[in-house]
């Protein structure tokens, strides 16, 4: 009996991240979120294989009797076999809407991830230097962030895109700029608490250079809240890029981007609702996926919440 006990106690202790992954998989909503995102990533990666048509090809003249804005036609749901199959129908320019939706997943995922990555890089740099150096530099940077935060996000983003000129890349940049303060604040506050700890003092005493202490010792220990913020931020960024596209400031036609696809047909909401609601639901699902995963990560990475 005693030997068995000793064996079970000598099990390797698990790290914070191993624990976090275990907790993440125990949480149903996080697993649902991960499955949704995994499916989407697969669709985005294999878009060439899945989409039956090129997303910008106009099928008029290619296909006999094609009607613009015609409703979805799926053979095994009772659509006559002599009619060509269009899972999500045809849009106003005779393009296969399903193919456009499939390719659109690439842009939405890219838009969210790219703008958040950019915001994280700049935000982390600003926040960590402000928090670590302190003094007037800290004050200057954080007041600047306050000014940015004083504008409602979308309104500032609209203004920035108008300056840069409409387009998907500029919309990404605008959303990134608008979200920098959120990351700068998160990183600054965790740097502030980490830099008071003894291992940093030890670093100073050993004569390690301040830059090395900041980037090799302080930052890696301040990164956890950032992971959560970033996952939740991708969802918001996707919505905001789509909103800019909806207002005509983001992706330009004929780019298959969900927000601009929805916007192009929004006056047809009463006559061809599927052209409006399919992209709308798709945006909702991606954002929901990131939100569920983000919530799960927050619970999993918070040591106070680990109820074993």
């Amino acid at each position: 009996m005693t030997s068995a006990k000793i064996i079970s106690q000598s099990k390797e202790p698990s790290s914070l991240y191993q624990d976090a992954v275990r907790h993440l998989f125990q949480k149903n909503s996080a697993v649902v979120g991960m499955i949704m995102l995994l499916a989407l990533i697969l669709i985005a990666v294999f878009a060439d294989v899945i989409a039956p048509y090129n997303p910008t090809d106009q099928l008029i003249g290619v296909e006999d009797g094609i009607v613009k804005r015609s409703a979805p036609c799926i053979h095994w749901l009772g659509c006559p076999a002599n009619k060509p199959q269009h899972f999500f129908g045809v849009d106003a320019n005779f393009r296969d809407f399903f193919s456009r939706m499939v390719y659109g997943s690439r842009l939405s995922l890219l838009a969210g991830i790219a703008s958040v990555t950019l915001a994280i890089i700049i935000g982390t740099l600003l926040g960590s230097i402000a928090g670590y150096v302190g003094g007037w530099l800290d004050n200057l940077v954080m007041r600047l962030m306050d000014v940015l935060l004083a504008f409602p996000a979308l309104i500032l983003a609209i203004a920035i895109v108008t300056v840069l000129g409409p387009g998907l890349i500029n919309a990404l940049l605008a959303i990134a700029i608008v979200t920098i303060p959120a990351y700068a604040r998160v990183i600054r506050s965790s740097v502030l608490s980490v830099k008071e700890q003894e291992f940093v003092t030890a670093g100073h005493a050993l004569g390690v250079s301040p830059m090395r202490i900041l980037f090799r010792h302080v930052l890696p220990n301040s990164i956890t809240p950032l992971i959560v913020q970033a996952t939740l931020g991708i969802g918001t960024a996707i919505i905001e890029v789509a909103a800019l596209s909806f207002l005509g400031l983001g992706a330009q036609p004929p780019t298959p981007e969900w927000g601009s696809m929805l916007s192009a047909e929004r006056n047809q909401v009463f006559t061809a609702p599927f052209l409006v609601f399919i992209p709308g639901f798709a945006i909702t699902i991606v954002v929901l996926g990131f939100n569920l995963l983000g919530d799960g990560l927050r619970d999993a990475l918070d040591p106070r919440l680990n109820r074993r």
Partner: protein, 361 residues
């Protein structure tokens, strides 16, 4: 307490100057020619030179900024719109009320529904109703405002057409309905552009409020019907966030020892949850309600576009595309300043709600 409030107010001054600067610079660097945007493509160079001179746009940028600061702070003048030729302050007084009504109604919806859902799901923690509420809240934060607006239009104006639930898809009032401002109906003689006139003008543009004052209930109901869908669309994200915060905050409080003591003393369950529990769980909820105002204003741009409401958001969006600098400056400034003031009020209200903050400074 006084010191805490003074400190907080002093901290907002540099932010306000920063806002002025940012709005000014943003409006100047928007590419495109304001002259031709305002006067049409056919305006020749001579006319444009006169236009630039008249609007002070021929002077160097720093001089323009100094003139602009003086105008706003000393003369309280926001300038004249290039396109409409009317003072921006007048346009704001006319269009801000639309957004204020929309935001207020949305916030009322979000707070009432959000807090109640939060209480229900905290009280019956881990039950089916809790799971359902939280799934609903998760969908609520994930659905884009413009999608929700269009979905409501589709459901309430098309699917439910000719039922009692039918609601109008756009506009502020049905065609043909007019309601005179209350000060005209009451035969008040006010001098135009005086402060009392401006206040009354602003209030009379709150369509529902004006309808109540003039006892015109037909207009009141019609205005209400037009505002329900946009308000729910804008209010859904804040509603979902408020529900989640209320739930987690109340859950934490209901697990504390003094709640068990209260129950042990035999206090009625209602009183335990609402008086002992909720009143101590509300602090984070107040913060979130304050913070959601920015989201509300962002949502207003999209919602006003979809529902065809001539409010702050849509006017601003149109002004940006038409390069009407003066409106862009004035409107973003008003939005940002009101946002800062609201955040200030939220911060100060903490001090009243939470003695720990009041006593710390």
């Amino acid at each position: 307490m006084t010191q805490y409030i003074t400190n907080r107010i002093m901290l907002t001054v540099p932010v306000l100057i920063g806002i002025l600067f940012v709005t000014f610079v943003l409006a100047r660097v928007i590419p495109g020619d304001p002259c031709r945007a305002a006067l049409g493509e056919k305006a020749d160079d001579e006319i444009c030179a006169a236009f630039f001179k008249r609007n002070g746009l021929d002077k160097p940028i720093p001089v323009q900024f100094a003139v602009y600061m003086r105008q706003i702070i000393i003369e309280q003048d926001l300038g004249r719109s290039f396109r409409f030729g009317r003072p921006v302050s007048e346009i704001i007084l006319e269009r801000l009320p639309v957004t204020v009504e929309l935001a207020l109604l949305a916030m009322v919806f979000a707070t009432i529904l959000g807090v109640s859902l939060g209480i229900i799901s905290a009280y019956w923690h881990n039950s089916a109703i809790d799971v359902l509420t939280m799934v609903w809240a998760n969908i609520g934060v994930s659905i884009p405002v413009f999608m929700l607006g269009l979905l409501f239009q589709y459901i309430f104006a098309l699917l439910l057409k000719d039922t009692f639930l039918q609601l109008p898809p756009s506009g502020r009032l049905s065609a043909g309905l007019v309601n005179p401002p209350f000060f005209e109906a009451w035969h008040w003689s006010l001098t135009k552009n005086s402060i009392s006139y401006n206040i009354c003008f602003f209030l009379s543009n709150l369509t529902m409020f004006n309808a109540i004052l003039t006892l015109n209930f037909g207009v009141l109901i019609d205005a209400m019907k037009h505002l329900i869908l946009p308000a729910i669309a804008v209010g859904t994200i804040p509603m979902a966030i408020i529900a989640r915060i209320t739930r987690s905050s109340l859950l934490e409080v209901l697990g504390l020892d003094y709640i068990r003591t209260a129950r042990a003393k035999g206090i009625a369950e209602f009183s335990v949850v609402f008086h002992h529990g909720l009143s101590n769980a509300l602090l984070p909820v107040v913060t979130v309600i304050g913070l959601q105002l920015g989201a509300l204003l962002s949502g207003a741009v999209l919602t006003e576009t979809i529902f065809n409401l001539a409010g702050l958001g849509r006017t601003l969006f149109e002004a940006i595309t038409a390069r009407d600098y003066i409106i862009v400056q004035g409107f973003t400034m008003v939005i940002a300043v009101s946002f800062v003031v609201i955040n200030l009020m939220v911060d100060i209200s903490y001090a009243f709600l939470d003695p720990r903050i009041r006593l710390s400074k």
